[in-house]
């Protein structure tokens, strides 16, 4: 028997001995029934205690009656803890690692849900909106419906699922998977022997079928791992956001108070690729306190934006001759993530926050965009200036971006010489029933330079008289936010038409374009991460033959000089 066991035995026996040594004491004559009753009471209390503990947290043991006092009046400062297993709120005795595996609040109260303990969190954000506008309806032809882009319609903008994992302190993995305007995608492929049927010819039929609604997109918006090397320095690697301007890195829908993204970052865009623009790369980032403010920096090397193509197929079933149209559509896109994109781009951002709520930043991007099948090299250079100023309840936030596309005309000449012919068409003598057409399309938009700005002015307030209404009841800090956004973008030498034959450019029609938009909106935020917003938009074409956004082209259309829109939306984060 060890010394500890012996001491424990003595401690157990002594109270009984001492109780019997005091005749006439409060428990001098204890009967078996009384002991049994006490035992039953103890058992019942233990059960109750276990139930209560389970309600709080299965892993959190009962608090010891902790009240430890140490004092050293006049002596050196001294702080003593009861023991190294003292519970920290949210952690319990079982968790000896002070900052490991803790969770504030029971699961149902957490923001974001934990899986695999608290190491992995699932969250997300998204937005939906309704838009009505007066974009001109084109002339009708016979029984055909009018050509029109904008309807009084709901728009499922996006739903983004986020996954945030912390394998260990100083290590982090984060990803965003985006479902944009996506209803469903269904792909079927099959190969069947073909020796009967209408054709009555032997062979194999290969069938590929893609089903889904138009305009949908499924994308990996971010997926990176981060290693915190030191307090002001972290290494990030993976699918990252080039930090040009402030919108691309703050693109979560629930951050913004208007239901549409700016022309500079989305509608134009002035950014080389519309936001959320992502590339595969690696870099360093950090945050350094300077005086009362701090300096925030990001620097990445990456594969970078490329001139990429998609193959568009159009089939027209019509009277006389059916049409099969193939269009290699060339546009700027994020570089491929399959290891074939050479690392030829850098992007950086340096932001200084001199005081709370205010920030100014300078950022940039430079990288080669011409693909390997072209002989000419050309680069994109973007420079952006952005910032935010806060004064009491007023906020001003904005961004200016300038992007240069280098030797655009040389690139077009090279495309012409490599592709030889921009279009090819069969004649009715060759195929009586089927017309085929191949035509290159340039969806860039191809310009020499693009630049533009947006600036938001907003005021946050909440009238107390709304506290008792459904708008304010049960919400901690609701807000109403009137907002004005001014924005304008310019496209220099926008290529309207580009055709070539025999490796030479036969037609190159360019023009300067300019568009401005003024938005007046009101946002109601019952909580910080949910926004119900409504806005009136006035879009005006200042230069050019069509609006930059939306690019509404159609047979017999009279291009809009301006249009108005009412947009209502909800954005949320969780």
């Amino acid at each position: 028997m060890g010394r500890a066991s012996f001491v424990a035995l003595i401690l157990l026996v002594v109270p009984f001995l001492s109780a019997q040594d005091v005749p006439g004491g409060p428990r001098g004559n204890v009967t078996r029934e009384e002991i049994q009753q006490i035992q039953e009471q103890i058992t019942a209390l233990q059960k109750k205690l276990s139930t209560l503990m389970e309600r709080v947290d299965d892993s959190r043991p009962v608090e010891p009656p902790a009240q430890t006092e140490t004092s050293a009046g006049g002596g050196p400062t001294k702080t003593e803890m009861p023991s190294e297993t003292s519970p920290i709120p949210g952690r319990g005795l079982a968790d000896k690692g002070l900052y490991y595996g803790l969770a504030a609040g029971p699961p149902e109260q957490r923001y974001g849900r934990g899986i695999l303990g608290d190491a992995v969190k699932i969250g997300g954000y998204g937005s939906f909106r309704f838009e009505t506008n007066n974009i001109d309806v084109g002339p009708t032809f016979g029984d055909l419906p009018p050509l029109r882009r904008g309807f009084d319609a709901f728009d499922f903008r996006r739903f983004v699922l986020t996954l945030d994992a912390v394998p260990s302190d100083r290590l982090r993995v984060y990803s965003e998977i985006e479902f944009e305007r996506l209803n469903e995608i269904e792909i079927e492929r099959t190969a069947i022997p073909e020796h009967r049927g209408l054709s009555n010819r032997a062979g194999t039929r290969f069938i590929q079928e893609v089903e889904g609604q138009g305009g949908g997109e499924l994308a990996m918006e971010q997926a990176w791992a981060q290693y915190d090397i030191a307090k002001p320095l972290s290494l990030r690697m993976g699918v990252i956001l080039p930090p040009v301007g402030r919108f691309n890195i703050l693109h979560d829908d629930d951050y913004w108070d208007l239901p549409r993204r700016p022309l500079v970052d989305r509608g134009g865009p002035v950014l080389p690729v519309k936001s959320a623009w992502r590339e595969l790369g690696a870099g360093l980032l950090g945050n350094i306190p300077i005086g009362k403010g701090y300096l925030d920096y990001q620097f990445y090397v990456m594969g970078g934006t490329r001139l990429d193509f998609t193959l568009e197929e159009v089939v027209s079933l019509r009277a006389g001759r059916n049409l099969l149209e193939l269009e290699p559509e060339i546009a700027f896109a994020s570089g491929p993530f399959n290891g074939t994109n050479p690392t030829e781009a850098v992007s950086w951002r340096v932001a200084f926050s001199p005081k709370l709520g205010s920030e100014i930043a300078l950022s940039g991007y430079r990288g080669k965009y011409t693909p390997d099948f072209l002989k000419v090299d050309s680069s994109i250079t973007s420079v952006a200036f952005d910032g935010k100023l806060t004064w009491k309840r007023f906020e001003a936030e904005g961004e200016f971006v300038y992007t240069d596309f280098g030797r655009m005309e040389r690139v077009l000449q090279d495309i012409a010489s490599q592709s030889v012919n921009a279009a090819a068409e069969t004649s009715s003598r060759e195929t009586a029933a089927l017309e085929t057409e191949v035509e290159a399309e340039f969806a860039g938009p191809f310009t020499n330079q693009r630049f533009g700005y947006w600036v938001d002015f907003k005021y946050r307030f909440w009238p107390r008289l709304l506290n008792r209404t459904f708008l304010g009841r049960d919400f901690e800090n609701p807000q109403l936010i009137p907002i004005v956004r001014l924005e304008r973008i310019w496209f220099n030498d926008f290529v309207r038409e580009f055709s070539f034959l025999g490796g030479r450019i036969t037609d190159l029609d360019k023009e300067n374009m300019e568009q401005q938009r003024i938005s007046l909106g009101l946002t109601y935020r019952p909580t910080a991460s949910v926004a119900f917003s409504g806005a009136y938009e006035r879009n005006q074409r200042i230069q050019g033959s069509t609006l930059i956004f939306p690019r509404v082209l159609g047979l017999g259309r009279v291009p809009d000089k301006s249009y108005d829109a009412l947009v209502f939306g909800v954005a949320f984060g969780f």
Binding site: E69, P89, Y111, N287, P289, V301, W348, E476
Partner: protein
């Protein structure tokens, strides 16, 4: 800009990138700030950070009874922090045997993960100082800066202590700011209920 200068001199974006990365790495290691990037104060260090002049700091763990939880909810209203903890670690700071303040360690969820912080309160019930002990979110750690935390000084339960009202928000850290604001209100309520008006 330095980056642009490097870019011009090096001629290649990759060379420029590597050069800049080398510069940043060198400066980081030269500063000697290695180690964890998320844990800023331990429980032992926290009371010293908010009461640097104290002679002694006495730790007291406050057990939360159902009645106290109810009282805390009333005190923090209209804020809605999580009041779920079975106990709070608190400290009583003294200088020359006179109480100069109280402090309590609290946690609140930022976006996905809890932020651990200590709030020091004067005997009059106003915030004296606050410090982040651990930050775990992927973005928004600007809330740990002194310039942000300093705005809580002097706040009492009679103040809103709400973002966009009397607390300045930080872009990209909105939910962390909200968590800190809620948490400071909770800390004030705990000190009020445990020390300043324990019988009420």
């Amino acid at each position: 800009m330095f980056a642009e200068t490097v870019l011009q001199k090096s001629g290649s974006p990759i060379r420029a990138g590597l050069l800049l990365a080398l510069c940043l790495l060198s400066s980081a290691f030269a500063s000697g700030q290695g180690g964890g990037a998320q844990v800023y104060l331990t429980v032992e260090q926290a009371p010293r950070a908010v009461f640097p002049e104290a002679d002694s700091v006495e730790r007291k763990d406050i057990t939360v009874t159902p009645a106290m939880a109810q009282k805390l909810k009333q005190l923090v209203a209209p804020a809605k922090p999580t009041i779920w903890e079975p106990s709070y670690i608190s400290f009583v700071a003294r200088k020359q045997q006179k109480i100069i303040g109280y402090a309590v360690i609290c946690e609140e969820i930022g976006r996905h993960r809890p932020i651990t912080f200590i709030v020091a309160v004067t005997p009059e019930g106003t915030v004296r100082d606050a410090a982040i002990m651990a930050y775990r979110e992927s973005q928004g750690d600007e809330v740990r800066h002194k310039s942000f935390l300093a705005q809580f000084a002097g706040k009492a339960l009679k103040n809103p202590i709400m973002p966009h009202q009397d607390i300045q928000n930080i872009s990209g850290a909105t939910l962390s700011v909200r968590a800190l604001a809620r948490g400071v209100r909770k800390a004030l309520a705990v000190i009020q209920a445990a020390y300043l008006q324990p019988g009420e």
